[in-house]
């Protein structure tokens, strides 16, 4: 019983699929050529990278020349934001939200230090950004809007179609951090007025340390590094070949199962939410419907998240928390603060994030284990009054 493992932290990372590993292995073994080399070994690897680029482009509805492989979501965000800011003749204005991933927020802080102005838009209690607020924030020198497609903590989907449309009407570039969405929900750049999009392979059962930036043709950015001519000089350096092959394979497989997986995970998600809300003094964080298929984020009142995580871990359940004590920085999550949670409610938050390997038995197991955990921790807590 004790040995059961239930992994519900797919928002942090996902296991690599067997087929993905198999596709990668030759490139860690016999197919070692440098894709920039002229010889047969090099050309074979080049062909494989081209194929991965085509697969990635095909899933996104993009042209292969619009896909640039990077080391992950963090680098893609850095490349889009910094690369665009560096192209500006003079300092200007950027619009983003207060609930972006640190890989956007920290870059924005740097850009402020470099003389740009940044507006960090607030969100409502569900974590949604109001497109009208985006429009109101637009200044004559706004050159970039960066809004995530879905939030990694509370799972809220953002109205990127509306925001992108506004950006386009005003002639402003639009970037979206779609790391949590690509491979989970359909994303097609032909239907969306997006100029750049960040994705990361390890969120859709691909390997860690590899991602991509989609950059619409004609949009100009300055590379972060200088070096060789790889990735059309936008991202020089010998390619992470196994990673790129893994990304292409993982994305193709993930995209193929999206319709089925979305429905499946949404149903598991709603079962878990329903079960959790039956426990007294539990609140759902994020939007009830407009959320990632696999994201569940709740706060347990009167108890602290790290102690819940630890108790879950002792039962073989892997989840995550926005509590200060679990963050490594002793600061509560900026996202939970932004949706208006008081400190204590933020500290008691737990995120369960589902993936393709979860099933109904996992949901039942979690619900069976969480109830006594919450009860026990509340008995210890001075904040919880039992009478």
């Amino acid at each position: 019983m004790k040995n059961r493992l239930v992994y519900m932290d797919n928002g942090a990372t996902t296991p690599v699929r067997e087929e993905v590993l198999e596709a990668m292995l030759p490139f860690l073994q016999d197919q070692y050529g440098n894709p920039s080399s002229l010889h047969t070994q090099g050309r074979e690897v080049r062909r494989a990278i081209d194929e991965a680029r085509e697969k990635t482009a095909c899933v996104l509805g993009a042209d292969p020349a619009e896909i640039f492989f990077t080391s992950g979501g963090t680098e893609s965000n850095n490349l889009a934001l910094r690369g665009t800011a560096r192209k500006q003749a003079s300092a200007g204005h950027i619009i983003t939200s207060g609930i972006e991933h640190h890989a956007v927020l920290e870059v924005c802080h740097d850009l402020e230090n470099e003389g740009h102005r940044v507006t960090y838009l607030p969100v409502d209690r569900f974590g949604r950004i109001d497109p009208a607020a985006v429009e109101a924030a637009i200044a004559p020198d706004t050159f970039l809007i960066s809004i995530m497609a879905a939030n990694n903590e509370v799972g809220t989907l953002q109205p990127i179609l509306e925001i992108g449309t506004l950006a386009r009407e005003h002639g402003i570039l639009f970037h979206t951090d779609a790391v949590q969405v690509v491979g989970q929900r359909p994303v097609n750049v032909n239907d969306l007025p997006i100029d750049y999009l960040s994705l990361s392979a390890h969120k859709f059962n691909g390997p860690k340390g590899v991602g991509a930036l989609y950059k619409r043709k004609g949009v100009k950015i300055t590379p972060l590094y200088r070096g060789g001519s790889q990735e059309r000089k936008l991202r020089p350096g010998t390619e992470n070949v196994p990673g790129i092959i893994g990304l292409g394979q993982a994305l193709e497989l993930a995209a193929a199962e999206i319709p089925y997986k979305m429905e499946y995970l949404t149903s598991l998600r709603d079962q878990l939410i329903e079960g959790l809300l039956k426990i007294e003094d539990v609140i759902l964080n994020g939007h009830p419907q407009e959320r990632l298929p696999g994201n569940i984020n709740v706060s347990f009142k009167y108890i602290e998240g790290e102690s819940i995580l630890l108790s879950l871990d002792l039962q073989g359940i892997a989840a995550s928390s926005g509590s200060a004590c679990s963050s490594g920085s002793l600061e509560p999550s900026h996202v939970l603060s932004a949706i208006g949670l008081d400190q204590q409610t933020a500290h008691g938050s737990i995120r369960f994030s589902l993936g393709r390997y979860n099933n109904e038995a996992d949901i039942e197991y979690v619900l069976e284990k969480i109830t006594p955990i919450v009860e026990k921790l509340r008995q210890i807590s001075p904040l919880h009054k039992t009478d």
Binding site: G305, S307, L310, L330, H347, Q379, S381, P382
Partner: protein
């Protein structure tokens, strides 16, 4: 992240709850991470005859509360006053550096309880 001893005290904490006949109650809290704790002591002949705690906090906070109560049960008030946060962490076999401040709450709450007791019941006591 935590060693076995910490996990054990966290999973099976000793002396949890309230003492309805407490002689003194001490509290402590961390502004930084929000952890809070409350300690109840029953004193007899200058010794801590019974002790209970309530803690809102992470694994480190709960484990150190439990460990502290075990360490001071039966001790004189003077002895208990000399137990430091570091003693508690050491007795637990060490805590992750970032978690030390969470464990500091336990001894602080106890010292507050003892100081309050003495202020009320020992006329010549000065802080």
């Amino acid at each position: 992240m935590y060693n076995e001893k910490v996990v054990d005290h966290f999973s099976n904490p000793c002396n949890v709850g309230e003492l309805t006949d407490a002689d003194s109650i001490g509290e402590s809290g961390s502004f930084k991470c929000g952890d809070t704790m409350k300690i109840f002591i029953k004193v007899e002949d200058g010794r801590i005859e019974n002790i209970k705690f309530q803690t809102y906090g992470c694994g480190a906070a709960i484990a150190s509360s439990s460990m502290l109560t075990e360490m001071v049960k039966g001790k004189t008030l003077d002895e208990a006053m000399h137990i430091t946060n570091q003693n508690v962490a050491d007795e637990l076999g060490g805590l992750p550096p970032l978690k030390l401040h969470c464990s500091n709450l336990a001894a602080d709450a106890l010292h507050n309880a003892i100081a309050d007791y003495r202020r009320r019941l020992e006329p010549d006591y000065t802080d």
